[in-house]
């Protein structure tokens, strides 16, 4: 089970309404390499991964990704709420308004809805952990692209935090992969 803490993992400082940036941030809310994909991928893979280290890591990183999804949602919410329809339309969020008003929805920066086809689970620890490491790198580079699209110091600060987390997650998954290799070698010989 999970227990909700009524706080963000990291603060979201927003200087002003910026609909253009909000539209881009949907990449990390419901895009292929989004925080949503990360959370579902890890929390779904953990049942069949063989080592306790990897089970712990998938559970704990998957949980942290849910907190990151909340941070991205908070950013989009703060950047869009109260914006007039004409402004939403000008920023390319007209179609979003028609289908969702100012509600959030897990789609990517271009409006394509989230799909489980973005993620995989092979039941093979080597394949799964490699997928996880790749997804952390893809999320890292998406954050780097997002950082280039804004000059709002508050947004940049939060995006840098999230980018850094992807680097740490990549590192931890790499360590879990090395241990899985050792584990599989030892099973071969004994």
């Amino acid at each position: 089970m999970w227990v909700y803490e009524k706080r963000l993992e990291y603060p979201v400082r927003v200087e002003r309404t910026d609909l253009r940036m909000a539209k881009y941030l949907f990449a990390q809310y419901g895009g292929p390499d989004s925080e949503l994909s990360a959370a579902v991928r890890y929390l779904n893979q953990r049942y069949t991964i063989p080592t306790n280290r990897a089970k712990g890591l998938l559970t704990d990183i998957g949980t942290e990704e849910m907190a990151h999804w909340e941070i991205i949602g908070t950013m989009i919410y703060k950047l869009t709420q109260g914006a007039p329809v004409e402004e939403l339309e000008k920023a390319g969020l007209g179609a979003h308004f028609v289908e969702h008003d100012r509600a959030l929805f897990p789609h990517d920066a271009a409006g394509v809805p989230w799909t489980a086809a973005y993620i995989q689970a092979h039941g093979d620890p080597i394949a799964d952990l490699h997928e996880d490491m790749a997804s952390e790198q893809k999320a890292r580079v998406t954050y780097e692209h997002l950082i280039r699209m804004t000059d709002d110091p508050g947004i940049i600060d939060t995006l840098r935090f999230l980018r850094e987390r992807e680097v740490v997650h990549f590192q931890r998954f790499g360590e879990a992969l090395n241990y899985v290799h050792e584990y599989m070698e030892s099973r071969k010989y004994y």
């Binding site: 227990v3 706080r7 280290r53 712990g56 990183i61 942290e64 909340e70 703060k78 709420q81």
Partner: protein, 96 residues
């Protein structure tokens, strides 16, 4: 109700906000050490740091909850009112 009315942004009093930020900082140390320990379970020094940080974290949470109401679901709230839904939601707080 118009959108502007529904759009709430709450300015927490300085003392409450500072405590919340401290909880966020110490909470982050706990998360980071937990991930590290998942792949370094035999690192005694990290485990000691984890225990210290987690203890500090829970002290801060208790202090916050005593003063301002529940922060963590399923916590006891000794007052007469249900403060859980009274405090601003994380996306409604004006961070500074």
């Amino acid at each position: 109700m118009s959108h502007r009315q529904m759009h709430r942004q709450a300015q927490l009093p300085k003392e409450q906000y500072d405590l919340l930020r401290e909880i966020m900082q110490v909470g982050f140390v706990v998360v980071e050490l937990q991930l590290y320990l998942d792949t370094h379970p035999n690192d005694r020094q990290a485990l000691r740091l984890y225990n210290e940080s987690a203890m500090c974290y829970h002290r801060l949470i208790m202090e916050y909850q005593r003063k301002y109401g529940m922060l963590m679901a399923h916590s006891p709230d000794g007052t007469e009112e249900w403060r859980w839904i009274g405090s601003p939601w994380p996306w409604e707080i004006n961070y500074r």
